[in-house]
Symmetry: C2
Subunit: 227 residues, 2 copies
Amino acid sequence: MTRSTDEAPTARANGSAALLPRLRELVLSGDYQPDEPLSEVRLADHFQVSRTPVREALKQLQVEGLVEIRPKVGTFVRRITRREIVEMFELKEVFEGMAARLMARRSPTDELTLLDANVRASERALSRGDIDGYPPLVHDFHETLLCGADNRKLEAHYRTLMNQLAYHRMIVNTVAHPGRLARSVDEHRLVAELIREKDGVGAELAMRAHVSASAHEAMSDLLALRD
Amino acid sequence: MTRSTDEAPTARANGSAALLPRLRELVLSGDYQPDEPLSEVRLADHFQVSRTPVREALKQLQVEGLVEIRPKVGTFVRRITRREIVEMFELKEVFEGMAARLMARRSPTDELTLLDANVRASERALSRGDIDGYPPLVHDFHETLLCGADNRKLEAHYRTLMNQLAYHRMIVNTVAHPGRLARSVDEHRLVAELIREKDGVGAELAMRAHVSASAHEAMSDLLALRD
DNA sequence: TGCTAGCCTCTAGTATGCAACAAACGGTGG
DNA sequence: CCACCGTTTGTTGCATACTAGAGGCTAGCA
């Protein structure tokens, strides 16, 4: 547990604007167990700021669903239930399906090019058996879609969701499942094709199927790990 | 402009837990013009609390997208662009479509009964020509769907969205459009039927069509009113 | 020995003070 | 008359002091 060393109180550059992401990372890192208390004074001390900015950040994290503030008692790392994870994956499916549909409708040349390149890079990674190289490509794929959808509100909701899901920590496991990587690339390719064909409905459905499959893989990992 | 009277500093019951909704209502009420500054001290004075809780509430409203905080300058009522409204309606469509699909899958008896009753009440309101009685029924319809979907995360995202859209202020106008009320009731009835038939895909599509139609009506109002 | 009551220490919630910063205003010089 | 610069006023950002509630712990009693 490196809690006290790596999150060094690096001279507050701009005051405390960077405090929220640092605190979020701290919670997400898993250094803190669920239900572990996060004392405002302790955090303030640790980050070398006063309670005020810490409070603000914690309040924000509560909105994001990462911590729970029990009035007059304390702030605690939230225990994410399996039910919540299922619910979040259902939302993820809808969000990304929507992004695919919107991008198919717009058919923005830049993002289409990126998507194409991404799929080809994924194919190369697959043929090389490059497990470690794939997760970033997955991330870029979804990011390109979101960008191509060109809907800021969707983007905001999506990012909020993903912050809470800590999805990037799950995906590293799922790509190691036998055959999953190949299937994932196939699904990406299909989505990209349907978007290029401006088949919004098809792209949405394909994307949903992809997210659903990916979610199933991730959930199967959780079955083993949690509780 | 009743700004100073109706938002009376009603004895802070529990401190300032009720402050956020009151502040939100104040911003949404339209008493403040876009880009109008919201001074922390003034608001604190007005609500008979100190700056601290006001600050927290404003920060939350920024997350919700209702105000903009320019660092070291001030907090201002955000001007919602037409683009944002379009984006939010697109999101509303998928949220409510998702709710319909999930409810169809679960088929919860209580909510099905409520939905049925709601549709019948709407039909009565329609036959009576009761324009004023319909908006609450619309609200209940969507609320029942959301409840029947039984997905807390969806609910949270939906409520965030609707807070920002201030949808209930739009709908009162659209039901006055000739023929819209009848069509709206028809659409509700269709959605309810498809849900009862456990046709998730159908319910989702029907719901999307309904939201889309409703959005078009609302946007056509905005064309006349804004800018 | 077990239970209860009261205190004591912890927490968050709130108020306030102070400093830094931004912007508007007025005066002065060209 | 206009442009520029200093001052002044208003604002937020942060720190700190104070309040009050919650929960644990200990001591005293049955």
